[in-house]
């Protein structure tokens, strides 16, 4: 039954993981077919979006010369919000304003298109507007893919699934089960256009530099999640994401778009986005189950990279860099297997997992392995704590004739009322243990 392979490798998907993988393979001279269901690479993809330079640098060192980058980030704000106020930290450094920059905001539709052009330049064949419906098996070996085109069966020595969080292919092939709603976040976001000048003034930045704001608190309606506001060249990205299971179980039956709208009206946020012209509304899942939710990622003739394998570090909001790194390491595994004529059975592709274990990807995911559980079991991190902090700051800063010592006592009493002292200490310990 085995048809002769037309390609060394087929890569399904042209997001950051698929592009990193196909690029690395093609650069090494392998015959690569990449299949993307969107009209063009990026047309199906959604991100915040922050690009971490390091992962891309390892693949395309001179990417800064022509990649579509919006702004390099010189300031990060972290805000805790209650209903009407916020308390926050700002970290801004002139060090972040010196090349080579470490983080950039990007627009995924444009960035993915650019990355994909590099992949084709390297020699891979890309077919868009084509959805892969099934993997073709020969016994227990993946030997190709079946696409939704006439004569859509294509064969290759190895198939790499870079098909994102909603990987239908791995599920249909029985490599893993359905995603659990506790292991994914549902995020919605909008892009708001406004004059560049306005953005510069509002955020106190220059022509190229940018600000990111991460937010927790009442804006997620008691659900585990965060909000974000990023500056692009001539637009702002604003969004909010919460665990899908929390949406489902929320007694208020809050819809994602109502949550976003409510957040946009928060008195700390509204003035920043005022006058912005909304040009697109997006939604996407983020695999946030972490270390314990990672499925089997290699087998006979197949490997899984990027979001399809759950490679997201939710604590640090990193995904695209893990996607690129897993894509690159999978490609290197194939290149080595080919050079050594070792074949593409699981025992040879196992090297991919070993390489991942040695990289920051698995080390970071392992470090935060208990984080999802701790946060989930302790919703106060998203409700009463931001409230308490905001309230405390307000009390301390309001000048009303009450002496500071009395204020401190009041604050402490209110902390204890909201959450017993043992609870406070316990929470701090749990968080410390999960982060450590």
């Amino acid at each position: 039954m085995k048809k002769p392979s037309q390609f060394d490798a087929i890569v399904v998907g042209a997001g950051p993981s698929g592009n990193a993988c196909a690029y690395t393979l093609a650069k090494a001279g392998l015959k690569v077919l990449q299949i993307e269901r969107g009209e063009y690479p990026g047309s199906k993809n959604v991100q915040g979006a922050i690009l971490y330079a390091n992962a891309l640098e390892q693949i395309i060192p001179d990417f800064r010369d022509d990649a579509p980058l919006e702004r390099h980030i010189i300031e990060q704000r972290m805000w805790l919000l209650d209903e009407t106020s916020f308390v926050g930290t700002h970290i801004r450094s002139e060090d972040y304003n010196k090349p080579p920059y470490n983080r950039y905001t990007i627009l995924r539709a444009q960035f993915d298109k650019w990355f994909s052009a590099k992949v084709r330049e390297a020699g891979a064949l890309l077919i868009c507007e084509t959805t892969v419906n099934h993997l073709i098996m020969d016994g227990d070996q993946v030997v190709g893919v079946q696409c939704d085109r006439i004569q859509g069966d294509v064969y290759a020595d190895v198939v790499i699934l870079a098909d994102g969080v909603n990987s239908t292919l791995a599920r249909k092939a029985g490599f893993h089960g359905e995603i659990k709603s506790e292991n994914v976040a549902l995020a919605v976001k909008e892009i708001l256009f406004m004059p560049e000048e306005t953005i510069r003034q509002r955020f106190n930045i220059g022509e190229e530099s940018g600000v990111v704001i991460e937010m927790v608190g009442r804006i997620t309606d008691g659900m585990m999640g965060t909000g974000f506001l990023y500056t692009n060249k001539e637009s702002l990205t604003i969004g909010v994401g919460c665990m899908l299971g929390d949406f489902k179980n929320n007694p208020n039956r809050t819809s994602p778009y109502a949550l976003l709208e409510q957040m946009k009206r928060h008195p700390a946020i509204a003035p920043l986005i005022e006058g912005g012209e909304m040009k697109e509304y997006c939604a996407h899942l983020i695999p946030e189950g972490g270390f314990h939710a990672i499925p089997q990622i290699y087998g006979n003739g197949w490997m899984i990279v990027g979001d399809s394998g759950g490679f997201v570090n939710a604590v640090h909001r990193e995904g695209s860099n893990l996607a690129m790194t897993t894509g690159r390491l999978a490609a290197e595994t194939v290149i080595n297997a080919k050079a050594a004529s070792k074949g593409y059975r699981a025992d040879s592709l196992k090297a991919y997992k070993t390489a991942l274990d040695d990289s920051f990807v698995m080390k970071d995911l392992y470090k935060y392995r208990d984080m999802p559980k701790v946060l989930h079991k302790n919703p106060q991190f998203f409700t009463s704590y931001p409230d308490m902090v905001a309230q405390a700051a307000r009390t301390m800063i309001t000048v009303d004739g009450v002496d500071k010592k009395t204020k401190e006592r009041e604050i402490f009493a209110s902390f204890r009322k909201t959450r017993k002292l043992t609870g406070l200490v316990g929470d701090a310990y749990k968080l410390w243990k999960a982060i450590r």
Binding site: R149, I179, K248, M278
Partner: protein, 99 residues
Amino acid sequence: MTAITVNVEEKLFQNRYRVDAGRPHIKIKDADICTNECGSKSCTFVCPASCYKTEGNGTVTLITDGCLECGSCRIICSEHMNVDWEYPRGGHGILFKFG
């Protein structure tokens, strides 16, 4: 949190779609299960494009034209697994300009 009404159609109106007319990529497998066995009908408020609606008689209707292809409806229907979910045919569905 005070509930606010939001017109999601207005948001979706900004998006670009290529609808595969007459070939919805998501289907409700058995309408009776939604009507009679599902109490929560969480798809009707979790879907970020508001594709699912409850009708007066307790049935759930699905119109996929504005679908953002997030996959939430499939995953949250874990109790009944009543959502038949596929990606649209290649080139169809939502086409993000910015993402």
